[in-house]
């Protein structure tokens, strides 16, 4: 697996940076985002963590697109950014609404529904 990933397909100045580097970075971003989402209580930070996970995917897409020389992947990233922006707008509006209601940004105040 790794030797496949390590095949250099990138232009000279960055020849030493292989697909694997990008993927490791992307995976790290994804996991960090996930960990952040689980551990942080602040709704805004949690939302930013999901943004980070989105961008991790974006990074992987760009790297794969370059690797397989198929620019569809980079087009995908543009769409992902758009959706992420729309989601961000919704998310922030929601957070404002919730803050007005509970005077708190903590996710833990919302636990009436359970069982």
């Amino acid at each position: 697996m790794l030797e496949v990933l390590a095949q250099g397909a990138f232009a000279e100045p960055m020849a030493s940076i292989t697909l694997a580097h990008y993927l490791v970075l992307s995976g790290a971003m994804f996991v960090l985002g996930l960990v952040g989402f689980v551990t942080r209580r602040n709704l805004i930070i949690m939302f930013l963590c999901t943004e980070m996970m989105f961008q991790a995917s974006g990074l992987a897409l760009v790297a794969f697109a370059r690797y397989s020389m198929n620019l569809d992947g980079q087009t995908f990233v543009i769409f992902v950014l758009t959706v992420a922006a729309a989601e961000a707008a919704m998310g922030l509006a929601l957070v404002v609404l919730l803050f007005r209601k509970q005077e708190s940004l903590s996710a833990e105040v919302w636990n009436q529904l359970k069982g």
Binding site: D72, A86, M90
Partner: protein, 527 residues
Amino acid sequence: MTDKLIYLWPEVTLFITTCLVMVLGLSPQAEVRRLCAWVSAVGLTVAAGLAANGEPDPNALLPNIMPFAKVVIAAVGLLLLMLLAGTVDREYEADIESGKTKFNPLRSNRAEFYSFFLFSLTGLMLCASAESLIWLFLALELTSLPTYIMVIISTRGAKSQEAGVKYFFLGALGAAFFLFGFSLIFGGTGATHFDDIADSIAANGINPILTLGLLISMIGLSFKIAAVPMHFYTADVYQGAASPVSAMLAFVPKTAGFIAIITICAAVGWNYGPNHTSLPEGLRLVLWITAALTMTVGNMLALRQRSVKRILAYSSIAHSGYMLVGVIAGPGPVGGSFTSNGLAAVLFYLLCYGFMNVGTFAVLASLKHADGSEADDIDDIRGLCSTHPLLGWSMVLCALSLLGMPPLLGFVGKLGLFTSAISAGEYAIVIVLGLNSAIAAVYYLRLIVTPYLDKPAEQDVLRVEKVGIITRPMVAVISAASVIGLVLVAQPLIEASSRAGVATRHGDVHAVEQAAALRDDINEPRP
């Protein structure tokens, strides 16, 4: 790209309707605002008509899925529309009429509510039309994003806001999962179009990155269908949202998720395993474990609930598990019938589930307490058959159908899942499915016995009464009637779903030839 446009007229119609509704709902005239629901209904009807006359797309992996799925979506959408009518802004409109307040476009939710509903349905139809990962991702997001808002504005209480915050945040997490999965699928095959993905897999086989991508995207998509391990939000969100919106959540995202799962699996193909009839081991295993856990967890959680909405939410989880069995079974042998085609069974079951599930939620939505709060507790439906016979019997019939009692619609649907799994040789999951059907009987029987046999509680302070929206009991009755009536026309529906469940890229030569023949067949008359 533009030649795909001819398949998209239903979506285009819905989109135009959406824009129209968004403007109409902001009109200062109450009469014009009231048109929202009617215009939506007309749009949906036209979309259904266009979809019914839609042509199959010979280049798609599932050439016939579009007409079938879109007609089902539009039909159930019409039912949902009737159910959703009057959910938002009732008191506000009453205040305006009595002159208490003036109309304030910023305060009104009506336009958003209807247009978001239509947006969501548009997204759902686009899922069925999807031909690439990008398209599928956008369609899934278009399906989900409006529903987050709808949950929040469905009632003015804190509960629906709590439901909204959970749904939104966990939904974003789920979307991040399957997006990451999609990016890995792209990485593993170097293509975004499902056609190219299928070609690449056929040519180069499966590589680890692709496997990882498939697993992660399946788990991400489990959020949409409310399957383990992404099911946690379901009960809280269904309970917090208004009943009509819960009914919608149980159908719309679930259908989107299943169509996405089927599409991705079709790209991979059911030609692995000892008989070349199953999915690649990793994918099959993730679906298998998900299916088994989902139905078991859903049913067990439903056993000890008092809230009818939570029972229905957990039953919705369990039903996702049932339907996954069909995906595991796959389309079966080429030219096989409904009994061996798992995809047809899933698509047919989605139709059945749409009707019977909307029916149960419609009964709840038709009832309220004297103080205006929603009926939800199991005591609220106690003795319903004697107090509100139509609603009570609708509940009984829909619950019987959810239970899979012959000869109701749910039975016909479940039969397809069983037989397809058996003919695919997946005996273990069939046993799990059978055991779970037995467990599920316990809580469905509560939904049947409580309205039918129990006496209504006397001197109940919070006695339930009918809400003043005539369409809601109508939906309940229509659903109950469909649960019986559609059995009489089961065969045409079964045939349509069998056609829809045919996957052309089925690996073996014969299927490809058949697909090519189909393509020629369809392409010929068109110059």
